[in-house]
Each structure stands twice: as structure tokens, then as C-alpha cells.
Symmetry: C2
Subunit: 309 residues, 2 copies
């Protein structure tokens, strides 16, 4: 039941020699969700040994080049690798027009389908659901229509304690009910309380991705109690006016969102290329929200399973 985030790129606008453009991969139960796709994403996917065939869903926050110019090459590579499966792209509707024109010239013989899912970046809505995960949009505040994404595990069932099926001779037909919290009437008509049979369920884990955005308190309720929050911090605090001008966030903006939302951990990134050393940004964020880490290309953040009390 993996739930882990790999950062593929952490620079904003232009890449540096150390930081690629924005892209994240969330491995949720061995489904690999690609979030944004800046130039060089397919190279980062290879370097991080993520299998192309595992990626069926791409979520695009907004249509600025540093978040999507890697799509052209990735789509081409999928084609050259004879992908058969559908590829789902969730984005601003305009991306469909852009890619359709692009494919007409560059990928006339594409061997798989692209399914476009049009997002309304003004609404918080569920846009994806499978057996384990739901994905919702998070309206953000940027110069162009932009939304973030929150990935949440569906509630876990309680776990059977070791050997209880054998010891209490529980028939298979009763197991799901017990996992859902039922007590069990055994063959001697004795009531076994659920608490004797099961452990508390694992907590549903969550990851929220918020970039690009100015400081917006509307984000807070939508990322409340999230296990891992990625929030952009393009600038340090003394560049507050530049952040405002460009609809980006500072170190302190990101940390305040994390603090007010009671996030468990904050990763900041989408760093302006002017910062060769991002430690001032991290220090400023930590002064407000201690559990802050910088986004670093190639780093994986595992969200461990933990049980409810």
C-alpha cells in the first residue's frame, strides 16, 4: 500500500543546472500519477527508474510552459514505446486544442488514445476515483486559470488481528463485516466484540499539490489535516512584492497555509532560478512551520501507514 511522492523538478520558469522544471509523481498503491510535466520530465522519469507503462493519468495545474512543455516529448515516447493503454489528461480544456493540433503534425500515427478530462479550476470537485484513491481539484490564485490537486486514500477497513479467523473459526462470509466493525456471534452463540478481533484501521493518507499560486486562504479548508502539503515558495520573504506582482508565494505564505491547515509536513519548491542556495527560503518557512523540507529533484517522500487511535 505504497503512498509516496517523488519530486522530478523543483525550479520555476527556467531550469537550472541542478533543478528541472516542475513535475511530481505520486505512487499511490502502485498507480503512478504524474502531476505537471515541465520540459525534461521524461528524462527525469527515466533517471528515477519510474516505468512509463505505469503512468496512465496526468494532472496539469495550468497552461504555462514550465508546467507542460514536457508533454510533447512524453506523448511521443509513449508512442515509440508502443503504448496501447489510454492516457488520461486532466487539465484546462484549452490543452486539448493545443495537443490536438500538435498531434496532427507530429504524431499522426499515434497508437493509443488520449482521453481529455476538462477541469474547472474555479471549483473544488472530485475529478478521479478508483478503488483506493480519490483526486479533487483545489482552486488556486494565479495569473491564468490554475488548480492544485489533492490525492486522498479511501478509508481503510479495520485489520483482523493475527490468527483470529482460525481461533474463532470465522467463516469467510463474515470477514468483510468484521473489517467494517461488526461484532461476531461465534458457533456457541457467544458474542465476540469487534475490538477483540481487529486492530484500528490505517488512517487514509493524503497529498496536496498547490502550485502556482499567490497566498490564498481559500486553500486552507481544502488541504486541512493533509499528511503532505506541497506549496510553492517561489520567493523568499523579502521578495513579497515580486511574489504579489507575479501571483506567486513566498516562504512565509507557504508556511502559513501549512500551519493554518494543520498539515503534517510541508514541502516547498518551484524556486526562482535566482536562488542557488534555497536554505534561506527553508529557514524562513521553518520559523513558522517547523516540519518543512525543500523540494529536491529525485527525492522521494514516503507517507507511512499509521493506525487511527
Amino acid at each position: 500500500m505504497t503512498f509516496e511522492l517523488t519530486i522530478l523538478g523543483s525550479s520555476s520558469a527556467v531550469p537550472t543546472s541542478k533543478r528541472n522544471l516542475t513535475a511530481h509523481v505520486l505512487n499511490a498503491h502502485e498507480r503512478f500519477f504524474l502531476i505537471d510535466c515541465g520540459e525534461g520530465t521524461q528524462i527525469q522519469i527515466r533517471k528515477n527508474k519510474i516505468r512509463f507503462g505505469k503512468i496512465d493519468h496526468i494532472f496539469i495545474s495550468h497552461l504555462h510552459g514550465d508546467h507542460i512543455f514536457g508533454l510533447f516529448g512524453l506523448i511521443s515516447t509513449f508512442n515509440l514505446l508502443d503504448r496501447g493503454k489510454d492516457l488520461h489528461i486532466y487539465s484546462n480544456p484549452e490543452l486539448e486544442n493545443i495537443l490536438t493540433r500538435h498531434l496532427e503534425f507530429f504524431e499522426r500515427n499515434i497508437c493509443y488514445n488520449i482521453i481529455y478530462h476538462h477541469l474547472n479550476p474555479k471549483k473544488n470537485e472530485m475529478i478521479y476515483e478508483d478503488r483506493n484513491i480519490i483526486v479533487e481539484t483545489i482552486p488556486l490564485k494565479h495569473r491564468v486559470p490554475t488548480c492544485g490537486f489533492k490525492f486522498t486514500e479511501k478509508p481503510h477497513f479495520r485489520n483482523l488481528k493475527k490468527n483470529v479467523v482460525r481461533d474463532f473459526k470465522i467463516p469467510i462470509s463474515k470477514i468483510q463485516g468484521i473489517k467494517e466493525g461488526e461484532d461476531y456471534l461465534d458457533e456457541n452463540n457467544e458474542l465476540i466484540l469487534n475490538s477483540s478481533l481487529t486492530l484500528a484501521p490505517y488512517k487514509a493518507r493524503s497529498y496536496a499539490y498547490c502550485t502556482d499560486t499567490a497566498y490564498s486562504e481559500k486553500i486552507i479548508p481544502l488541504v486541512k489535516d493533509v499528511d503532505l502539503l506541497f506549496h510553492e515558495a517561489t520567493f523568499c520573504k523579502k521578495m513579497k512584492s515580486q511574489a504579489k506582482l507575479t501571483s506567486h508565494s513566498t516562504s512565509e505564505d507557504a508556511a502559513n497555509i501549512a500551519l493554518k491547515a494543520h498539515a503534517k509536513k510541508l514541502i516547498v519548491g518551484h524556486f526562482s532560478a535566482r536562488y542557488k542556495d534555497v536554505s534561506p527560503i527553508i529557514d524562513e518557512a521553518r520559523a513558522i512551520f517547523q516540519n518543512t523540507s525543500p523540494a529536491e529533484d529525485g527525492e522521494t517522500h514516503v507517507i507511512e501507514l499509521s493506525r487511527k487511535d
Copy 2:
């Protein structure tokens, strides 16, 4: 009087974890000519510490994605860096339409001009000239219209020997004539032979870039005696039929072109991503043309000055 080639990418079609997509930079007398621009080129430019502001001319061989998808990000980065100078792009005319549509959406406020130079890939013609360099097209044989490029220094003048201006009291007005081979009548009406005053000129250096292409003997006269020949070798010799099918070359094809053209040195590249180790390709080429090197990302090949006999 630098004349050196830096390989930015050496993989074909798809990048690998070690090889980026095709792009070369020729530094000819401190003008940096970018040749092809696969995805990730701007990142490679940064990693190789080439200044963006030095690149004014981009030569595109053909409109397959692995040779041009880096243009979108590079054009955007030039804009973000407040480029003022014109950018010249030499390519198939269709690229102008593609980029014009692209710019309308992604770079509405572009702060510099792009000057498009339309190439006819069927003709060998001069497409660029400055004080030091000329560039010609080399028609190639590929699935879509494609041309290579030959960069040649203009002839060098003879060099004055040390102290001759002082020793023979040569007035400034006579110097250029002497560099061009004239003898000198000194103040005593004594004729000083040019050979006493000058050294033989440096040879004009040249670099030819041939990718993507099937084996074509029409290339040979156009790259005759070139100092450095880059010729693609997408496949090893046992994949000859695959090379033919896709209009690419094998190790032996590249080496035979170098041999028959009397090139001084051959670099092969544009390797199929199936080759984790390209040494079989190099060995096969060397069996025909000894002075062969593999294209390796980040490597620079200096063409040294040498004098005519």
C-alpha cells in the same frame, strides 16, 4: 579563434538516463551556433555553461520531435531572460507556422524577434555568412525533408612573422597586402619577398553535421576533406534492415561516408536507445574508419589551428 563542437545530446527518438536528445553547439570564433534542439537542450546548455546570450542562430535539420521539442522551452527562457537581440532560426518553412501558433498562446509578450530562414533541403546552398564563417546545407535522405549543415571558416590570411613590422619599418597601409601575399618594397627600394615576412596561413577549419539520414553517397562530395564529420549511426551493422526501413544509418554507413570523403575525424551518434553500451557501434565504425569517436553528452571536440604547408 576558437572552433569547437560541444555535444549536448546523443540519443535518438527517446532520451535515456545517460543520453539526451540531439543538439550540438559549435563555437566558431565565439559565435555559438546551435544545431538541432531536442527536449532538454536548454538544460544541457546550462550544464555546459554556455551563455544563452551567445546563441543567435539555430539550425534545424528536420521537423521530428526529438530534434525540435526543446525549442519551446528555449524560446521561453530567452524571453524570461529579457533577450533583446534577434534570434535566427534556419529550418523547414513549416516550423514558422508551428512556432507562430505556439507563440500566440504561450509567449504573447515576447520581447525579441524571431527571424525565420526557410531552407530547401533538396539543395546544397549557402545559408549563412559572417566575417569568419559560412554555413551550407547538405541534402540528406530521411523520411521527411532533412538537411545537414557544413560550417566552414573563411580562408585565413598569412600571418606576419614576429617583429617584421618593426624590423622592416612596414607602414600600416601595406600590412593587409602583405598578409594577402604581396612582397614588400622597403624604404631603400629593396624587394623583400613575402616568404621572408609571413608564415603560411592557417587552414580553414570545417565541421559537417549529418543527421538524420540513410546512407547516401550524395553526401560525400559535400563533406569532402572536412576536419570533423558528425554522421549519425543509429544502429549497429546487424540492424541494417531496420536502418533502411527507418531511413537511418549503421556504424558502417557512417564510417564509409567518412572514409570516402577523406574526413579527418568522425563522430558518430544519434544512438538508438536500445544500446546501453555503444562500443560495438564504435568498433564497427573504426574497422572502416579508424579515427572515430562516439558522441558523448557534454564532450567538447576542439579543432586545432594548423598551418598550410
